[in-house]
Symmetry: C2
Subunit: 231 residues, 2 copies
C-alpha cells in the first residue's frame, strides 16, 4: 500500500496509486456507494465493510485503494468540493455585487436540491463525531467560499457599491451564515422546518421562495450599502 | 410500560410513569450518561445498551423508563431546550433592540462554551441520520427563538427603532442565522475553523471576540435601522 503518493503533495488526494490505476467503472461505483452510505447514515454509523459489499469488492481491495475510512471519506468530500468550486467559479467580481449575492443564494438552493447527498455529508462534517477531521474538512470546504467573498467584496468596495468597512472578514461571515442556513433549509428536514417556523408557516402552506430570496438580498443590501446609498 | 402518560398530553415528556417515580439520583445519572454518550458519538452511533451499562442499570430497567431510544433522546433534548428557554426568557422587549441583539450574541457564545454537550446534540439533531425526529426537534428548539424574535422585533418597530418591514419572518431568519453560526463557532471544531478562515486568521492567532461581536451587531443594525437613522 502506498498512501498519498500523488506527484503533488497537497493535491488533496487520499487514495493510493492502486486506486488511480483501477478500472474507471470500478472506481466510480466505489465512490458512489461510499457517498450514498456516508450521506444516509453519517460517518460514524457507516461501516467500511458495508461499502465494500455494496460496491461488490473485497474489503482487502478497498484497503488497497484507501488506507483508512478517513481517506475514503475525504475523497468523497473532495468530489463535493470540486463541484462547489465549479458552481462558484464563474461569479464575476466585476458584476454588480448585490445581483451576484442573489445569484449565489439561488445557486445555493439549487445545489442543495440537486445534491442532497453532498449536503447531508456537509451537515455531518460539522458534527462532533467528525472532529478528528474538522480542520481538514473546513479548510477544504470553506476556503473556496471565503476567498470568493473576499474577491467580490474588495471589487465592490473599490467601485463604491459596498461601504468601505474595516471588517470585511466579519461582513463575509454574516453574508455566508445567512446563505449557509438558507441552503441547509433545502437539504435538511430540520432546517426546512426551522425556516417554516421563522416564516410563520402552518401546515403545508408553501414557502414563497422568490419573496424570501428578495427579502434576504434586501437585508444584505441594507447592511452593506454605503451610507449615502442607504435605502 | 405506560409511555407518555403524563397528565398534560403535550408536556413534551417522553418517559414513563415508572421513570417519574424512580429515585432522583438514578434518574439524573441515567440522563447525564445519555447526554454524554449522544453528544460524544451522535444519535446513530450510540447504543442503548452502552447507556444502560454506563448508568449502572439493566437494559430492561431502561426500557421500563423510556419505550424507545427516540424517547430517551427527546428527553435529553428537552432538558437542553428548557435551559435555552431560561437563557432567553428575560430578554426584555422594551429594551433597546440592538443592545438586546448584542446581548443575545454574547449569550449564544457563553451558552455554547458552558454547554458543549448540548450544542453537539443540537448539531447532530440537524443531520440526515435524525430525519425521523426532525420536525419534533426543530419544533421544540426553534419555536422559542422564533417567538422571541417576533416579540422583540414587533416592539422595536412600534418604537421606530427598527424600520417597518413587510417581511419580519425573513428578517428574523437572517438575524438568527448569523447568531446560530456564531454560536456553533464556539461549539464545533468545524465551525471554529470556518470562522478563523473567514476572519483570515492564520496559525494560532486568537479571535478578537469583542471586535467580532461589535461587527456583527453593526451589520444587523445597518440592515434593520429605519432609512432616516441609517448610519
Amino acid at each position: 500500500m502506498e498512501p498519498n503518493t500523488d506527484d503533488k503533495p497537497n493535491s488533496g488526494r487520499f487514495h493510493t496509486q492502486t486506486f488511480a490505476k483501477a478500472d474507471v467503472k470500478r472506481r466510480e461505483k466505489l465512490l458512489a456507494t461510499a457517498l450514498a452510505q456516508f450521506a444516509e447514515k453519517g460517518f460514524s454509523a457507516t461501516s467500511v465493510n458495508d461499502i465494500a459489499r455494496g460496491a461488490g469488492i473485497s474489503i482487502g481491495a478497498l484497503y488497497s485503494y484507501f488506507p483508512s475510512k478517513d481517506d475514503l471519506y475525504l475523497t468523497v468530500v473532495e468530489q463535493g468540493r470540486a463541484l462547489l468550486e465549479e458552481a462558484l467559479g464563474d461569479i464575476d467580481a466585476a458584476a454588480p455585487f448585490f445581483a451576484s449575492y442573489e445569484t449565489l443564494v439561488r445557486r445555493a438552493r439549487d445545489y442543495a436540491l440537486a445534491n442532497p447527498e453532498l449536503n447531508r455529508i456537509y451537515l455531518d462534517a460539522t458534527t462532533h463525531g467528525l472532529r478528528h477531521l474538522s480542520r481538514r474538512l473546513s479548510g477544504s470546504l470553506e476556503t473556496i467560499t471565503a476567498e470568493m467573498y473576499r474577491k467580490i467584496l474588495a471589487a465592490a468596495i473599490e467601485r463604491g457599491e459596498v461601504r468601505a468597512g474595516t471588517d470585511t472578514g466579519a461582513d463575509a461571515f454574516c453574508l455566508d451564515s445567512i446563505m449557509v442556513l438558507f441552503q441547509f433549509s433545502f437539504a435538511s428536514d430540520y432546517y426546512q422546518e426551522r425556516l417554516r417556523i421563522f416564516l410563520g408557516l402552518s401546515g403545508d402552506e408553501p414557502i414563497d421562495e422568490e419573496a424570501l430570496i428578495a427579502s434576504i438580498t434586501n437585508f444584505v443590501r441594507r447592511a452593506l450599502a454605503p451610507s449615502g446609498a442607504c435605502p
